[in-house]
Every structure is written in C-alpha cells, then in structure tokens.
Symmetry: D2
Subunit: 338 residues, 4 copies
Amino acid sequence: MPDKKLHVGIIGAGRIGKVHAETIAFRLPEAVPVAITDLNREAAEAVAARCGIPQVAESSGAILADPKIGAVLICSSTGTHADLVVEAARAGKHIFCEKPIDHSLAKIDRALAAVKETGVKLQIGFNRRFDPNFARVRKAVESGEIGAPHLMHIVSRDPAPPPVSYVKVSGGIFLDMTIHDFDMARFLIGDEVEEIYTAAGVMVDPEIGKAGDLDTALVVLQFKNGVIGTIDNSRKAVYGYDQRVEILGSQGSIATANCYPNQAQISTATEVRRDLPLNFFMDRYTESFASELRAFVAAVLEDKPTPVTGIDGRIPVVMGLAARKSYDERRPVRLDEV
Amino acid sequence: MPDKKLHVGIIGAGRIGKVHAETIAFRLPEAVPVAITDLNREAAEAVAARCGIPQVAESSGAILADPKIGAVLICSSTGTHADLVVEAARAGKHIFCEKPIDHSLAKIDRALAAVKETGVKLQIGFNRRFDPNFARVRKAVESGEIGAPHLMHIVSRDPAPPPVSYVKVSGGIFLDMTIHDFDMARFLIGDEVEEIYTAAGVMVDPEIGKAGDLDTALVVLQFKNGVIGTIDNSRKAVYGYDQRVEILGSQGSIATANCYPNQAQISTATEVRRDLPLNFFMDRYTESFASELRAFVAAVLEDKPTPVTGIDGRIPVVMGLAARKSYDERRPVRLDEV
Amino acid sequence: MPDKKLHVGIIGAGRIGKVHAETIAFRLPEAVPVAITDLNREAAEAVAARCGIPQVAESSGAILADPKIGAVLICSSTGTHADLVVEAARAGKHIFCEKPIDHSLAKIDRALAAVKETGVKLQIGFNRRFDPNFARVRKAVESGEIGAPHLMHIVSRDPAPPPVSYVKVSGGIFLDMTIHDFDMARFLIGDEVEEIYTAAGVMVDPEIGKAGDLDTALVVLQFKNGVIGTIDNSRKAVYGYDQRVEILGSQGSIATANCYPNQAQISTATEVRRDLPLNFFMDRYTESFASELRAFVAAVLEDKPTPVTGIDGRIPVVMGLAARKSYDERRPVRLDEV
Amino acid sequence: MPDKKLHVGIIGAGRIGKVHAETIAFRLPEAVPVAITDLNREAAEAVAARCGIPQVAESSGAILADPKIGAVLICSSTGTHADLVVEAARAGKHIFCEKPIDHSLAKIDRALAAVKETGVKLQIGFNRRFDPNFARVRKAVESGEIGAPHLMHIVSRDPAPPPVSYVKVSGGIFLDMTIHDFDMARFLIGDEVEEIYTAAGVMVDPEIGKAGDLDTALVVLQFKNGVIGTIDNSRKAVYGYDQRVEILGSQGSIATANCYPNQAQISTATEVRRDLPLNFFMDRYTESFASELRAFVAAVLEDKPTPVTGIDGRIPVVMGLAARKSYDERRPVRLDEV
C-alpha cells in the first residue's frame, strides 16, 4: 500500500458517479472519497451515506476549492464536462472525466489546452480498454502473437435503445454509442484512422429516425498502417449486450466471445441452450470501471502518464463527426476533413 | 429411386470434375456417368477408371453430340464456360456449369440467351448454398426465426493464396474468390444488393499487388431492403479455411462456426486448444458438392427449376465488377453503374 | 489402387448389412461385392439392386462355398455369429464379424479356436475406434500428449430405448450397449481392466426392469496400470445421441464433444441455442463404418493383422458379464472371476 | 439497507479470514467488522489496517466476550473449529464456521448440540453452493427443467497438490478436498446418499502415498432416491482449477464449464487455443465467498434459517469417512456403517 493516499472529490452522483464512488470507497485502499456533489442533492446524499463519504458539497465549485482534494471525478452530464475540466485544471486538481469530453471540438480543445497549461493529469473514462477480453486482444496485437493486423471487426450492440428523449440530446449514435468503439479501434490497433465510411439506417425504431438519428450502423475504418476495420452497431440486440471483437493478423487471429452469467449448458428434447449473455454494461464492465480508476489513482500517486489521455478523448469525437458526415454525403470521409 | 435415370457427360477432369464424377458414379443412383473428356486425356482416363465411366470422349463436341447424354457438367477452365453453355444448350443438353460463367457480362448474356431460347435447364455451381451451416442460416432468415435481418457479416478466408501465375488469370479477387460470397449474400438475405463499397489492400503478398490484384478486402453491401452486409476476404488465414456468417435480425441473431476434423479439446499446462479447422474447401464442402448435383439431377428428372439459375450466375459477376470499381474510385458504386 | 481386389460376400442385409454393402460397393475401389444373402430374400434383393451386387445367394452356405469370394461380412443376428465364424474359417474366408461374437464365452472360444486353426483373418465390428473423435483421443494417449492417463470418463447414451421385445433378447444392457464402451475403454487406455464395479438402476422405463434388464448404469473400471475409468450409460438422453469421452493425464486432459448437424448458434430474446446433436448412430458414426471396412480390406490385401481382433471381441463380453455380476452382488468383481 | 447492522468479530486472519474480512468491510454495508484476532498478531494487524477494523483482539476469548459483537466468523485452523463453535454458542454469538467443523464426528456432535441448545445461528462455509454455475445447476434440478435426475458427475481437480506437510495433517483427501464435493452432491440433488464406493490411487506424487493419503479418486454415490453420482478428484490438473458438474435427467441434461480469465480465442498456424482457466479457488470462487456471507448476515438480521446448516456440515464428514472405508475395504460402504 502506498504511504500517501489520493483524496478524491466526485462531481455527479448519477449512475456512473455512484459506480465510481463505490470503487473509491470500497475497492481502492489508496484512494479516499472526501466529498461528492450533484444538482440533485438527494442523490448525492444517498451515495455519500452508502459509501461513507464524509461531505456532500454544495457545488462543484466547493469541491474544486477544497484544498484537501487532490483529484476530481467528473461524472456530471456531458454538456458540463469541458468547462469542469477547465475549472478543475485551474484549481490544480487531477481529473478523471467521463466520456465524451464534449461534442464540440472547440470546447474540447479549450479543455485540453487548460490541462496542458496547468500540467494536471487527465484521464478519459474509456473503461472498456480495461475489460479483460479487450485487454487480452490488445496484448495479442502488441506482442505480435497474431502477427501484423490486417482486418478488425468490432461488434457493439445494446440490448435496447435508450428513450427517444435521450436520443434527441445524445449527440447521435456516433458520438453517444460508437464513440466507445472508435476508442477501442484505436486502442486495439495502436494506430490512427485516416478515413471512415458509413452505411447506416433506422431499423429498430422509426422514432429514432424522426429524431434525426440512426439506430443501426456499419462503419468502415481505414487505418494509416493499412488495417481495415469495421464497427457494427445496433441499438437493439434482443439477446442482450453484444460486445465482441475479432482481429485477423498475418500470423493468426483472435476473437472474443460475450460474457455470460454462468457457464451452464442445458440440453433438452428441443435444443441445446444457455442463458442469455450479461444484459447490461454495468454487469459486463463492472471490473473495468474499477480498473480504470485504479490506473488513474496509480498514475496520480506515482506521477505516471494516465493510460487514456485527453487526445484519446478528442479523436473519437472527430471520428464520430466523420462517420456522420460520411453517412450524410454517402462517401468515405477523411478525418482531416473534419 | 426414380424409374428413369439421368445420363451425364462430364467436360473437364480436373479437381472439380473429379469430385463431380465421383458423386455421379458413387452417390447418386439416379444418375449414370456416360462419358468424360479433358484436354489432358490422361486425366480423363484416370477419372474414368476410378469411377467406372465407360467412355473417354475425344472432345466436348463428342459429348454434346452423344444422343444418350441428357445433361452435361461443365468443369473445364473458366474461359470456356460461356461458349460451352451455348453449345450445350443448342445440343439440347441440360447444363450444370461451374462458377463463374465468365468474367465478361456480354459473354454471360449470350450464354443465358441460348439457355433461354432452347429451354434447357441451367444450374451454376455455387455449392456453398448447400452447406449445412449456410443452409441453416438461410432457413433462420426465411422462417423468421431471427426476425427481419438488419446486419450481415460474411467471413471467407483462404488458408493460403494461389500461385501468382493463377492470380494473374483469375479475374481478380472479386471475381475469383468473393464471387462465392456475393452469391452467399444474395442467397442468405433473399434480396438484391443496390450499392457496394470496397476497402481493400495488399497485405499478404506484394507479388499479388504487382500482378494488379488485391489479397485482403472488406466489401460493404447495401441491400435494396435496407440490410447492410459485409464480406471479409483474406487470401491467407494461417489457421485454415475460415468460412463463417453472422446475421443480426430484429428478433435474434444466428452465427456459424468453422468445421473441424474432430471435436476434441486438449488442456495442457500452457493452454486449452483444439486442432485446426478443416483446411481445404474439398474437405469443408464435401457434402455440398454432392448435394448440389443431387438437386440438379432432381430438377432435370422431375422437371423443376434448378435452385441456382443463370441469373444467379450473372449477378455476382456484376457485384465483382462493382466491388473493383469502388476500390479503384474510392467511392460506393451502385450496381446499375456496371 | 491395389492390383488385386478383395471379393466380398455379405451375410445379412439388415440395417448394418446394408451400410457395409454400400461401403463395399461405392467407397472402397479395392473391394468388390460379389454376393449377398439374407433370410429375408427381399431385403437382400433390395440391397443388391441398390449396390449393384451381381448375386443374391440362397444361403450363407452358398456364399461360403463360392471360390471367388475371399472374405465375408457377418451381419446376421447375434445368435448366428459364432457358428458362422467357425464355418467361414473352415471355408478359408477372411471374416469381418459384427459385435458381439456371442454372449456365451464358450461359443466365442470355439469361434476363435477355428480362426486360429485356419489362419484366416478376423476383425470385429467395433467401429467407434475409427471415429475421428475417439481416434484423436487415442492418439493423445498413445503419443504422450497428455502424459500418463489417470482418470477416464466415457459417456454413452442412446436417444431412446429399443423396444422391450428387443431388450428381452439383447443380452442385457452390458452386452448390448456397454459392450461398445468396454471396447472403447481398452482401446483408449491401451491396457486391460482388472476389476469392475457397477451401480445401476431402472430409471427410464419400468418395462425394461420387468424384462430383467437395467436402463441406466455407471460402471467403474480399474485398469491393471492403475487408471480408473467410468462408463455412464443411459438408454434415453432426450436431446439425442450422447457420445463423449474425457481423459485426465499427468500432463493434460483431452475431452470430446458431441457432433452436430451444423455449427450454427441462434441467439434470441430467451436463450442462446443450437440444434440438437446428431440423433442416430448411423449419422454419428457414418464415416467410422466405412473406415473399419477400409482397414479390414487393407489388412487382408496387404496381409497385415486386423486392427480389432478376436480377443478384442472376447474381452468386452467378459467385462459385460463381470459388470452384471457386480450389480447383482453389489461388490467389485475381478474379471478373472468370470 | 437495513436499519440495524450486524457487528462481526473475525477469528483467524489467514487466507480465508482475510477474504471474509474484506467482504465484511467493503461489500456488505449491513455488516460492520468490529474486531479480528489471530495467533499471529501481525497477520491480524495487517488485515485490520487494510480493512479498517478498529480492534485487534488479544484472543478469540476477547472477541467472544465483547458485547458489541453479534456474530463471529471462525476462520482459524480446523482443529479449533468445534471448540470455538461451542464457546461462541455459549457466548450467544451467531456463528459462521469454515468447513470442516472437525474430522471427528463426536466433536462435531458436541458443537452442534451447543448450537441447538443456545439457539444461535450456525452457517458452514460451503461457499461453492453460491457459485453462479452450481447455483444454476441446482435451479435446473429444483425447477424440473431437466426432469428427474438420473446420473450426476462432479469433477473437482486442484491445479497442484498442497505441500506434503499439509497433506499429513489434512485429514486425508476425502475430508480435505472431496468434502466440498460431498456437500455439492447433496446440494445439487437435494437428497441424501446411502452408499459410497471408492476407487482411488496415488498417481500424482508418491510422497502423498507415503503420507498415507491418496491423490486421485473416483467416488460413486448411491442416493436414496436412486440417483447415481460420481466425484472425480485429482490433486493435480496441470491446466488449472477444474470445477465442473453434469447432471442427466429424464427431460434433459445440464453441464457447466470452467471459468476463464477472458473469452478470447486465438487461432494460429498450429492450433486454436485459449488461455488456461482460472487457476486458483480464490479467483474462481471470489463472488461465492461474498455471497455466502451476504446470506449469513441476512439470515441473522432477518432471523431466517441459514442456507448451510450444522447438519450440512456433519454429513460430508460422514461421507468422507465412508469413502475412505470403502477404499480400505474395497467394497461399497453404507453411510449408516460409519
């Protein structure tokens, strides 16, 4: 255990804020939750009570002003992220910020500039990199276990679409859902995407189309190093949360399967079956949420670079904008066009 | 067993001609092999001896002139297919023709016109439709078992590239290799493709690139009914012949796995492993070659339509031409542009 | 192809006789079917017509008297096997005999003595040794791939019990069903069993119990080399034919899975499922029936020992008798007690 | 969250004491760790520091005397369990006791008598019942999903044997290792075993044999309701921790697979492989350790019966003694003989 502990303030007590608060409180002995805040004070109080967080702060400002606090977790709504990053940086706090930083590149750039200027650490919440399956795939690529990568397929399907009210403010499927897969693609291949082509449609729910968004998409990624990748997104896979990846390389391939609540197979007079895969990102990625915070805390305490940087937060937004542009213009779009 | 038997002449005694001769000789009691011919007379004689075929004909002309013969199997080199179809049709023989009919749409159209005019039956050798895995997927789509299809992925990788000398005369990866997958895509979805986008490269062997061809390709198919599909082709999957398909539908998904020589799993101190999948199309598709001929013989004897028609032979060639055009012009190409 | 061909007579045109006739006729160019006979002449005629066998013999005697015939396949009912072996041996014919030779050790010994005396070759129809799964397991043991074997489990379950009328004349589950597994156990481990303990019951159908037989059994095998094995038998696995084996060795383990008609997996809103495994031994063991005859024909033509000898036919009967004795006396029984 | 919390004292700060302390400290908001003790005071202090346990007690006596403490976790060495149960019961503390209670039935009976007399709750640490795989199998049996059970196989193999010094004081494989499987067998079938037959040997390490113990065992269980079960134990499966079960019932079967650190499959030029299964019971059964304590805490706070009772702790010891007796006397042994 480290001698010194990281004192953490949490901004936002919604679903993800609660997950992170529990990790800080119960699973990371080297971090101490000091304060939490939320526009909905009751939510913050409930999390504080559950996790033994001593203080429910009035506002994010109060947290940023607290000299005891060394790092903040920004878990508030997307629209607030960029400004909070700027403020936290200026307050000298290290920052863990949920994805996306923002939908506007200008606001992202302002945030990243503040981070650069102040020298605080910034980690973006692309938790899936820490999932044992995807980490194993990355290891296979990095170590040369499958040789040089040629083709990659990411399948990323939700069990059910969010409410249309959410869809309307989500920034669209590419910034809301595919953004995780854009990050995954860069992480797995270890190279940058040059050009994107999108085929997509509204197949799940016409209301999503009326809201100006898409619910089913196939995105082709052309990497600088020649690798060709695809991302398959659907807002509705009736059998549950479908999160897989496959890479073909010159010396072999690696493919992951979904995660299941149990490993039991039942054979009956009509079929051989198993229970559905884990249905919810909270179940599937439980451990990765803890792992990303563990890495963040370690990066701060040991003064190392964070494993998911501000640039890692920016590029998937560029990719999301290019993906939509490709769909709108029915042509491949280079990232430098965005 | 039917009262009347189909008397068959075989044109071409190469690899595939031999397979078909064996099926006719040993596995289809309702068909009788009458004669075989090949430019390489020795090859024809060896097959005739092995399969008990009474006559080794001087030429395809001799076979087409034989009044005993009701149907011919065209298993000669691609360049001869279209002309042989025309001649066989005019000779009143029913025709089973290996894929592709030709690389030229004009020659294909001439062949199909002759077939139409003479009223003989024509079946194209897209054997994979008869593979139990792909037939099961088609059944799932057709029966509504997985609802309306949304997204489809075809993976079709060879264990090793053909010799460059072959590559040069192959018509290119899209007409030589992907053509099977184009047929599969149409077969599985039961609808036509409208537009194609291709990302591709030379990743396996630079000599293939020097020959003007590609060895790795990702083709996106936009179907008229909205379905989006991909085809993943590689000339070299070091672990063997990789032939899979996955379809996501509104009510579920279906995915096939590769076929293996055995179902044994070995666990050692270093890994849990199994033997490689079947490495060669002759092993993987053995049964489908027999099934397609069984269907052809039945179509002739019972005067039913063949399950893979002349149009089914033509459209994949159009798709192959569109796929290459898309690659060359870096844009999606509509089939009606070809 | 060998210069000389083996001319074969087939005694018995029932289910298994028909399978063997087809193999000889269609799949083994080095063997020629010369004559077939059956008490039911119509059955023999039908098989002869289907397989192009020139002669339907009046009786087994006529076949044994035919000087053209070099080998006979004994596919008649179990009760006739031992006497036919004696007669065939005396007639100088090589013999392929279906399992079991007999239920009586005295009759078996008489048959084996005749074989020994006359020097003809004898192969017993334990086809499962030729199944790719079990052959792979044997290879893993023989090659040392999993080290020295410690524990073995054989699962062998039928999809449904035979008619009670058959059960009554079957010799009981251990001589009728487990006998295959006794052979498999010896084959896989490559050593002899010393002692057997049986736990069993009537769980599937009380009528089987009334007929004096059992329908569910667990047999423990103590091998001379220390290996401990189990055989799990059920007359009814509702999901189909269940044929698996698992061996733990000092350096690893090997386990086989069942065979399926396809490799498709379907995911729906309620489950992830696949179609049932192959339901019938004719489907599951198709290739092994051909392989055992190929090996027999080769042994005769090349004058090599047959891969499944008369002793291999005798020992499983001893094991079956010991297994029943163990059940009756509720104690482990040594094979030398039988 | 419950209004009232359970205050817990922990006796023993070894491997399992540490696991339980972490669960109480970090994962069960309704339980509060009050004190911990260990003969090795440093061990206790380290756990206390890590888990924020306010008091390191001098002795188990000090814990039992503490009026704030409502329940104790007995995690000390096996030889101390029975006496501590008696003392804890007399002190009015609810008891969670690691398995086995003792190797002596007399001492177990004394402990259970004290529990009965004082009316405290007792739960035995058969954590595997709470594993999602085994819980799923139990559900399938209990709900009738696979009909009436006929045959059951439990495979339970360790990755490597314990040190011989431990083997000597372990009580032997049946009381040390198989005891978990005896509990599992009763739990899954929901019925009692009547008779046991054991085949076993020393195959892994002759030193284990010299210590008077066995390292490889096959135990046959005859249940009162007719079900026949087997337990396959090995002290050394080189590929890792092998924990599986399979049950055949009248309407189907259920079988579990091992748990793996990831779901990735790698295909190379030589094999299709995956990483080894979880190698250690702490990794495999992590969640079940937390679940059993959650159930214990709930049973105390809500005054319900515990899910694993004193009798559940006693019977597997009887089975272990019968299993050894069967091996020694080479005959099936009825439990009522012990």
